[in-house]
Point group: C2
Chain length 187, copies 2
Amino acid sequence: MNTSATPQLRPGGRSARVQAAVHQAVRELQQEDTDGLTVPAIASRAGVTPSTIYRRWGDLTQLLADVAVEQMRPDTAPPDTGTYRGDLETWLGDYLEEIASEPGRKMLRDVLCTPVPDNACRCAEFMAQQVDIIRERAIARGEHVVSTRDVIDHVLSPLLYRILFASEPPSVDDLHHWIAGVLGHRR
Amino acid sequence: MNTSATPQLRPGGRSARVQAAVHQAVRELQQEDTDGLTVPAIASRAGVTPSTIYRRWGDLTQLLADVAVEQMRPDTAPPDTGTYRGDLETWLGDYLEEIASEPGRKMLRDVLCTPVPDNACRCAEFMAQQVDIIRERAIARGEHVVSTRDVIDHVLSPLLYRILFASEPPSVDDLHHWIAGVLGHRR
DNA sequence: TCACTAACGCAAAGTATTTGCGTTAGTTTG
DNA sequence: CAAACTAACGCAAATACTTTGCGTTAGTGA
């Protein structure tokens, strides 16, 4: 029932090994089978029994959400292009490309579809962190910056709205237009 | 397998009655049971067999998405408060309250969690229609308006982003701030 | 080392999902 | 209007997934 990734180290805890095996099994099967992604299949691949997965994650959707959140965790800081605007355009461009792809959209759905909102929050924190890194770097350069909140409200939000609700993902031009918008008006 | 609501009228089609019964059963059970919302339960309540539902909708998630989309369809035009800003603040305020509630968030999840993106698109169209009605009314009054696209990008998008990804829904002040933002800057 | 606790494996029981086949209802054609 | 046609439906058997009780095992603290 523990959907979080933080293992509580009480007497009988043995979480790390099983969690790693199950997560890896999910990632592998997601690439191969595309379709037959079931708890028994994951359990078999991970070398555990289905009941282990059910007891630990509850059901398939929560396991998939857990895996998706981990895959969304940034593994590196946004590339430094030398300017605030350049950093935003580059990182958000890469992010757009990644999240607009079919596996990317699947990951987003996996995260959003769990009844517990915690997973989506963690993704939001990841994204805010990246925007913050870009912002701090710009401040160190002496550039004029806007709040991370404004970047999220007026660039990341429309970007994700389009990907989730529209039939076509936003273009890079849309993205640059939104960035120009937040950089243009003050606060 | 026909997940859309438009019934194609070929020889053996008999869709309308069963669809209505199943949709109503889902809505009833969603209020009562909260939890035991299964295909067999829905089928029993609707007076059909489970196989009917599986053949027609594929699985529970697609059925729930279909029902959620129908519940999101606006039944009335946004109230006319006399001004563009007032109409936006009132309709978006009501919308925020509705969609930030637990059943509202559940509906959003149901719509977004289906692999076929068609459902979410229809919801986006519903929302755009409402914003457009408000806009046309303002134009008829001779008011200065902004594009529906800008309202969606800079008001609706952050609103939905917060509801989906943040731990707290946006406040009415946030909403008014976003509306003031789009009404303030040109285009 | 020993006691303790939570997680795990196993297997049986309980549900949900899929599928083949016969039947029924709605549509089109003559 | 009647006959032919087609897709959806009901039924029931087969399959697959999920839940649960109980004994065992591995990690933790004393």
